[in-house]
């Protein structure tokens, strides 16, 4: 009798698991179709003429290699089921591929768009040693970085904002954080920004922002603060748990740019043209709605404007 009930229990558990898996699978499929459609939907066309050198070389070798984040929701995240990279940075990479090749093919050996995972630590090395052609990985084009790389863009303007628990009504602005605990990833530049913006806020650190979000859900911290784009990545999974403060609270400038080796001025201007084109023909908005917009981020009031600075 005991054994029979155990077997029945296992059978029920297995069925439940199978049901859960198939539900998951169909969700993944839907997501994949979304991305597929989005690539087909873009109005971006192949450029009439490619600048000689960097861009023409990419066209000749038949593949654009993009350094991207693989673990950042909404920016660049690898879908473990399909292997696709999803997020705004990935959409920018797809638009650039359309601009160079006229088509986007990410599957198989003939793919003309390949993603390589880059982190904050290795992205400089990857650009310089040619592991990747360009880095599109939420890389802020700070003035002091411009002499080291050529940066096209910004293709997205963001900055540091604050996320609190959904039921927290006390905190409506950065000033309200005085005396409150604010969790920031260890080693992040956001620590210093917060200390400068509101010295009365009590900064605590954890290994990464996922840990900070967990601590916020647990009630171990009052707020989490970093780039708004990253914060919205956590509201996707738990829309009822977290609330990102109004965008008017943003207190730093993070202009995300596309990095390539220093001295590639023609390539930089070509990519700036691509960004302008995407902003003009509605592709940029489509990419936004597919990623940040779907997570509840309001459309920015002012759109980014590529900075066509003089070469150093």
């Amino acid at each position: 009798m005991f054994r029979r009930s155990v077997i029945a229990g296992i059978a029920v558990a297995t069925m439940a698991l199978a049901a859960a898996c198939s539900g998951e699978a169909s969700k993944e499929q839907e997501k994949e179709e979304d991305v597929q459609e989005s690539v087909g939907d873009y109005a971006m066309e192949q450029a009439a003429e490619l600048p000689a050198g960097f861009i023409q070389d990419i066209k000749d070798k038949g593949v654009l290699v993009v350094g991207s984040k693989f673990d950042q929701p909404l920016i660049g995240q690898r879908d473990t089921a399909t292997g696709k990279i999803e997020g705004f940075d990935a959409e920018m990479a797809r638009l650039l591929t359309l601009r160079i090749f006229g088509t986007v093919d990410e599957e198989g050996d003939d793919a003309n768009l390949k993603f390589v995972e880059t982190t904050s630590e290795n992205r400089e090395t990857y650009v310089n040693d040619g592991t990747v052609d360009v880095v599109i990985a939420s890389y802020s084009m700070y003035p002091e970085r411009l002499p080291n790389f050529d940066f096209a863009g910004p293709y997205f303007d963001t900055g540091q904002n604050v996320m609190v628990a959904a039921d927290n009504t006390d905190v409506q602005s950065v000033a309200d954080l005085a005396g409150k605990q604010v969790c920031i990833a260890e080693g992040s530049g956001s620590i210093e920004n917060m200390q400068e913006e509101n010295p009365d806020a009590e900064v605590t650190t954890l290994a990464d922002y996922a840990a900070c979000a967990e601590a916020l859900a647990n009630g171990q911290t009052d707020a989490v603060s970093t780039d708004e784009t990253i914060l919205y990545g956590f509201t996707v999974d738990r829309p009822d748990a977290f609330r990102v403060l109004d965008s008017s609270n943003i207190f730093t400038e993070e202009p995300y740019g596309i990095a390539m080796p220093l001295g590639e001025t023609d390539a930089r201007m070509f990519i700036n043209d691509m960004i302008d084109e995407a902003l003009a023909n509605g592709d940029w908005e489509k990419a936004f709605n597919l990623t940040f917009g779907a997570a509840g981020m309001p459309m920015p009031e002012t759109l980014p404007e590529p900075n066509r600075y003089e070469p150093f």
Binding site: E144, G187, E192, T204, T205, L206, A211, N218, Q220
Partner: protein, 218 residues
């Protein structure tokens, strides 16, 4: 290489200070837990031996980071909350305590059984024979391995950055990711390396000194 060198040294010194006090405080906890475990290991009561064994097997076979995460993220879920540094000390202390217990037990086992029997036969209780005959000898023979555990603890303490204690490695990460790129990557890495090396060399020196003092003729 030496950009903003004074700022870097100040930050690393802050971190080193945290590393040192976290290490010493958690080591004190580990010694207490280890001594209790060792007594339980050799206790005549079987349940005490079982409990000590269960504790040792658990903590020896679970990664330290997992212990820290369970403490920091798990306990608040059941209503027990504390400051980050408290969890760091508890995590490092309970984890290292298992190793200290095993080391002390091996020390106790190195004392010939005849001594314990002799102690009991002259009328000493179990506690008395441990405290005045067995443990003083056992401690002397385990000074070197306990010193090794202390140096391992210094290095393990780097993991508490994951639960928000800004020790040496955490400070190094902040310097490397500085907003204004003020610090040289290699200067920071070498600075951290030297800091850990100095701490552990000093520990080794004192352990060797203690070992020499404790030498006795059997």
């Amino acid at each position: 290489m030496f950009d903003n060198f004074d700022l870097m040294v100040a930050a690393l010194w802050d971190g080193l200070f945290t590393t040192i006090w976290v290490t010493l405080a958690s080591f004190a906890i580990a010694l207490v837990i280890g001594a209790i475990l060792a007594v339980m290991h050799v206790s005549p009561a079987p349940p005490a031996r079982w409990a000590a064994n269960a504790y040792t097997q658990t903590f020896r076979n679970v990664p330290l980071l997992a212990v820290l995460f369970i403490l920091f993220f798990g306990f608040p879920k059941i209503g027990i909350s504390a400051e980050n540094w408290v969890w760091a000390l508890v995590g490092l202390g309970t984890y290292t305590g298992a190793f200290v217990g095993e080391t002390l037990r091996s020390g106790i086992n190195s004392i010939p059984l005849g001594q314990a029997e002799a102690a009991r036969s002259i009328g000493l209780t179990f506690g008395q024979s441990l405290s005045s005959v067995i443990l003083p000898q056992a401690f002397r023979s385990v000074i070197a391995p306990i010193g090794t555990l202390l140096t391992a603890l210094v290095k393990n303490s780097a993991l508490v950055l994951a639960i928000g204690v800004p020790e040496l490695s955490a400070q190094a990460q902040r310097l490397i990711n500085d907003n204004r790129d003020r610090f040289d990557l290699w200067a920071v890495i070498i600075g951290v390396l030297i800091s850990y090396l100095i701490v552990n060399l000093i520990i080794s020196y004192f352990v060797r000194l203690a070992e020499k003092r404790a030498v006795f003729v059997r």
